[in-house]
Structure formats: C-alpha cells, structure tokens
C-alpha cells in the first residue's frame, strides 16, 4: 500500500493546478534573482541609494518583516511558555511565516552591504557597543532556532513518518520544543529591541534619537512591544488569507479571536506608550536640538503631519479599540480590517524611523533628501512575498500545519 504525500484526511488540489498557482511567484523570484545578480555583480550603484540614503527600502523591509515575523516568537511564547493551548492550532503556521520573514531579512541584509564577502566581520570583529552587532547575532541564532522548530513539522509528512528514525526524531523534538521556543523568545525580545535601538541611538539624528533606560533608547522597548502586538495579527491575517485562497476553514474563529484579544490589548498599551514617547520627543528631546515638531513635517512633498496621525490614530488607537471589544472581534471582517490597519501602522513606524530620519535636513542650509527606490530594490523587496507564497503553499500541501483542518472540513 502506498502512502499519500498529503497529510492524512485532507484534500489538496491537483498537481497541475498547484504548479499553475506557483508560476507567478516563481516569475517574481526569477526577476528578483536577476536583480540580485546585478547588485552583487555590479555593486550598490544598481540601486537608487546615495550618501544621504545609506539606509533605504531594504532596511525598512528588514525591520518590517522581522517585526511581522515576530508572530512566531510571540505565538511560541504564548503556546509554550504561557501554556495557551488554543495558540498551538496556529503555531506551525506562525513558525513557517517567521522562518520566511527572517531568512528573507537576512538575505536582504546580505544584499544591502557593500562588501557581502566581508559580512562575517560583523561576527568576527564584533563591536559590542553597536546595536547592529546585537541584531546580527540574535537574528542569525534565532533563524537557527526557527529552523529547528520547523524540522519536526517537516518530519510530520506521512511519507517521512513511515521511516522509523524520523518518526521517533519528530516525536522527541516535539518533546523538547519548549526549550527552543523559550530560547527563541529570549533572542527575539533582544533583536526586536536592538532593531529599535538602531535608529534610537543616533544622537546626531534628532528625528530618531530617543532617551531611554541605561543603554537602551525608548525605541528599543517600543519596537519589541509593537512586534509582539502586531506579529500575531500578521500570522492570523496570513492564515485567513490562506483560508480564502484554499477555500477551506483551517483555524477556528476562537483562535483568531483569542490572538486578536491579546494583540488588541498589547497594541493599545503600545500605542499609549508610543504617544507618550512622541509627546516627550516633540516637547523636550527635539527642541533641545533646536527643532520644533513641525520642522520634521513641513517643506517636503511626502512627510506631512498626516503620517504621524495615520501611524498613531488611524493605524494605532483605532484597530486597538476594535480588537479589545468583543463585538469587534466577533465580526470577522472588522477583526481582519483592524489587523490590516495595525500591520500598516507598524510598517509606517518602521518606514519613518528609517527613511524619514534620513530625509529630514539637519543643517539649516540642507534641503529634504527625497528618494525613490530603483527596480532592483523594489523587486527584491517583493521577493519575500513570492518566497512566502511558495514555502507556505508547499508546506500547506504536504505538511499537517493545521490540527483543526480535518475537523473543520469533514
């Protein structure tokens, strides 16, 4: 008797339909591969970055995908450390999403450095005072943890399960997974914070600079908190998207609602802290360097005060208030609309902390530095989406990602 490659008791589309579905993603991947060849082959002159924009689209993408991939660490924290059983129904998906986000972030970082072959210097000649060093260490180790967390999920494939060794390996790995989850949580808390520290310590850049606690600027804590709040919402949203694409229910509504409730309260506390931080920065920190709040939001074609309102009110308080109310969570459309707003808010936050920081003029005789990315930057930034589609599609097809799928699709 032959064993099906698909998880037991579930239906999957035909092979040709599956390949057809993956085709556009592979096309994007192909174009991105060409862009990577151009950048690695001819250098960063293939981008639209310049001396004013040493950091640009890729660094924003790094910060954003790592924060969104934070669903993996926070879901792991809830499932394995806090013992929230419902979250286990979505944890496999969260791990895969995290793995895609983190591996793509590292790839983009590899693309972003001027001398990729010297990339190992960051480990070998590590400057322990640099936030980027901490990011590199934690990110790399956490990617390793995510791979370890993903292995038992791969081993769950029915064909692989037939092999006795892998069957036992997968069982034993499940037993010790809490240890890895705890390690992942520890590492992730630090590197999410360090990513916040990257702009926060720049005391020569008053738009980004923040005071803080000991060596950690307030952005250190705000980045961690926002990633923990919005990461699970991203996981839930992507899971819902998978449901829409596959036409199947994969996770019970109560799982979504639980994640939304936790995220909602975290988002609310985060956005209150962010508002307080903004008020202090606008009234104390920036004026001490001779800048008024509006000097950062006028005389340029893009960065108006709207961006601050969009981030804090429309994409902060509004989704948080929807998610903390039971009625808001029980209405599926409203729940995912709020999640989408929160995700956009987080992306805006990462954008302004990187791009607006560099755009704002410092010398009175400087003008705003504006930037639009080159095609090489855009297509490689879209690449994580294409890779995500391919990896999640393969994982969904061949691995038992969703324990509730059989029950929900009899």
């Amino acid at each position: 008797m032959t064993t099906s490659a698909f998880p037991e008791g579930v239906k999957r589309c035909s092979g040709s339909q599956f390949i057809l579905w993956l085709l556009p993603a592979f096309l994007v991947l192909l174009i991105a591969a060409y862009a990577m060849f151009r950048v690695w082959g001819f250098g960063l002159n293939q981008t639209n970055m310049n001396d004013a924009y040493g950091f640009a689209l890729w660094i924003w993408a790094d910060l954003a995908v790592i924060a969104l991939g934070g669903g993996a660490f926070f879901s792991g924290f809830l499932a394995y450390i806090m013992g929230v059983k419902q979250v286990k129904n979505i944890i496999n998906f969260a791990v895969i999403l995290g793995l895609v986000c983190y591996s793509m972030a590292l790839l983009l970082l590899g693309l972003d450095v001027g001398q990729p072959l010297r990339g190992w210097f960051i480990f070998w000649h590590a400057n322990i005072h640099s936030m980027l060093t901490e990011v590199a260490f934690c990110l790399t180790i956490y990617l390793g943890v995510l791979i370890v967390e993903f292995i038992p999920v791969i081993l769950e494939n029915p064909k692989i399960q037939r092999i006795r060794f892998f069957h036992h390996l997968s069982h034993n790995m499940h037993e010790i997974m809490a240890v890895f989850a705890a390690t992942g949580v520890f590492l992730s808390f630090f590197h999410q914070g360090s990513l916040g520290g990257v702009p926060g310590v720049l005391y020569g850049r008053p738009f980004a600079f923040r005071e803080g606690l000991f060596i950690w600027p307030w952005t250190f804590f705000l980045f961690t908190w926002s990633a923990a709040a919005v990461g699970p919402l991203f996981t839930a949203s992507m899971c819902r998207l998978t449901e829409i694409i596959t036409g199947k229910r994969l996770v019970k509504d109560e799982v979504y609602q639980l994640l939304a409730k936790i995220s909602g309260w975290m988002l609310l506390t985060y956005i209150i802290a962010k508002s307080l931080d903004t008020i202090y920065w606008a009234t104390v920190t920036a004026p001490s360097a001779g800048f008024s709040l509006m000097s950062f939001y006028t005389n340029n074609p893009l960065y108006g005060i709207w961006i601050l309102i969009a981030e804090i009110v429309i994409c902060g308080f509004l989704p948080a208030l929807i998610l903390i109310t039971q009625k808001g969570r029980e209405n599926r459309r409203l729940l995912f609309a709020a999640a989408a707003l929160a995700i956009i808010g987080l992306c805006i936050n990462r954008w302004v902390m990187v791009l607006q920081t560099l755009a704002a003029p410092l010398k009175p005789f400087d003008e705003w530095f504006m930037y639009s990315p080159a095609w090489t930057e855009v297509v490689t930034t879209i690449m994580p989406v294409a890779v995500g589609i391919i990896v999640i599609s393969l994982a969904y097809r061949y691995l038992p990602l969703f324990p509730q799928e059989r029950e929900l699709n009899p």
Binding site: D51, G54, A126, N127, S130, Y203, A289, G290, K363
Partner: protein
C-alpha cells in the same frame, strides 16, 4: 575602548576655519583629492554619489540685491569627540569596529579593509561627512602613477572620509622619532593638505589643547562656533564668522533663540 598609552603624549587635533576669509576657490578640495587618492567619475553632478572628503558649501543670507551676502563653508569630517568623550556618533554604531576614535590624537579613523559597507555610520553622521564608494575607483590613463603611496586606495562598497591627513602625522612622528624627539612634533610639521592649499589662509590646523598652537587661540574667538553644536557631537572643527546670519546657518534655532555669540547684543 582603547585609552591613551602612558608613554604617548595626548593631542587633540582640530581645525579652525575662518569662513569670512574663504573665497570658495575649492583649492582645499583639489588638494584633498590629490593627497588622499580620492577617486572621481566623469559625471560628478550628483553630489550625493560623489566622493569628497572636504566639501565647500555656498551659503547666502537669502536677501535680495543689494543686501545679498555670500559665505563659503568648507566642511571636512568634524572628527567629533562625541557626547561622551571618545564616542562620536559614527564610532559606537559601527558593528565591525571599522571606524575608531584615536585617543592619542582625537582623530576619527576609517579602516577601509575592515569596513563591509553597512553604512550605519553614514546614517549616524549628521554632517554627511562620510561617503560610500558606489563604484570601483577608476583613474584616467597614467594617473595611477601619480597616486600617493601613503594613502591606500579604496575599493567599491566601503565608506571613506577625511582622516585629517593622518598619514602626514605618521610621517611627522616617524621623522621626530628618528631625530631623537619622539613626542615633539612642531605645529608646522603636521599640517593637512587642505590647510596648506588654502590661498587665503582661512584654514588653521593644529592641537586644540596646545596653548602654543594657533588653533588653541582661534577656537576661543568670540565669534567661533561649531556646526550643529546643539546635537552634542562635539566637533573638532571650529568656524569663525562675524556675521550673525552665518551663525544662524550653522545650527538650528527655535523661534526667539539667538546664536550664543550674539546673545549678549540681543539682551
């Protein structure tokens, strides 16, 4: 972080630029290109893509004729002491220690062979004093023969910046050592290329902490100021101008605030 070895005399090199004397001739820029093997391309109009260790900015007071005034402001790396001494904004952020604060001289170094081009230092520097090698350096035919053997050429993908002609300090120190006066380097023995090239004598260079050096006196001029001083970067480059609008162009002020040099007059 490295401290000053006990047998080394501490110096604090810096520059004072009298912008009222600067004519904007850019001799300093040319001398710097030549001295430090700074590469250039056929097309140099995009200033944010070109390399220049010292950049001359043209400032105007914004008034219409006949009240128009112009000022030329040469800007090298500020070799900041940092908010905390020895911690300039760019140094502590570099993940691979490719840039460092040299305690015996106060000079901020850049180690090209260590830099892997993450550009975090560029994001940290408020002066845009650091530049990235977006292209491989290519010199016109035969020009490679005229490159200085004392300064290493940089490759594509690394950051570079003004070094206060550190190689000249090394040569001066070497000479002094061989002449049996290891710690005695005269003011004239170590001067940067831009200082020597300036035809109007606008640039003065020396040890900011040595009372015998000209810069020691000049930095105490009533009209001396530093660029973006309120960011607490503590630059080692000072400027002098008697014109109030120039002071206003050098830092950010809220409504009602007045540059320090003119505060008494206003009061």
């Amino acid at each position: 972080m490295q401290k000053i070895p006990s047998h080394t005399k501490a110096r604090h090199f810096g520059m004072v630029i009298d912008v009222d004397k600067c004519t904007g001739c850019a001799s300093c820029m040319v001398a710097c290109y030549s001295e430090n093997n700074v590469s250039f391309r056929d097309e140099e109009s995009a200033k944010m893509l070109s390399l220049n260790w010292i950049m001359v900015y043209k400032l105007t007071n914004g008034e219409s004729f006949p009240d128009t005034e112009v000022c030329y402001l040469p800007q090298p790396c500020m070799h900041c002491d940092g908010k905390e001494f020895g911690k300039p904004p760019c140094v502590s952020v570099c993940p691979a220690v490719a840039t460092d604060f040299d305690w015996p001289t106060g000079i901020v170094s850049q180690i090209y062979t260590r830099c892997f081009g993450c550009r975090y230092c560029m994001a940290a520097c408020p002066y845009h004093a650091r530049q990235f090698n977006w292209w491989d350096p290519v010199w016109p035919a035969d020009m490679e023969k005229y490159l200085s053997p004392n300064v290493s050429a940089r490759t594509r993908g690394v950051v570079e910046k003004c070094s206060f002609c550190y190689h000249r300090f090394q040569l001066a120190r070497q000479k002094a050592y061989h002449e049996g006066r290891p710690e005695e380097i005269g003011e004239d023995e170590y001067q940067t290329a831009c200082t020597q090239a300036c035809p109007s004598g606008a640039i003065t260079f020396g040890d900011l902490d040595n009372p015998e050096h000209e810069v020691y006196k000049l930095k105490q001029d009533r009209y001396a100021f530093r660029l973006l001083e309120r960011l607490n970067t503590n630059p080692s480059v000072y400027y002098i101008s008697k014109r109030k609008w120039v002071h206003r162009m050098a830092d950010n002020y809220l409504e009602g605030e007045v540059p320090a040099a003119f505060a008494e007059n206003e009061a």
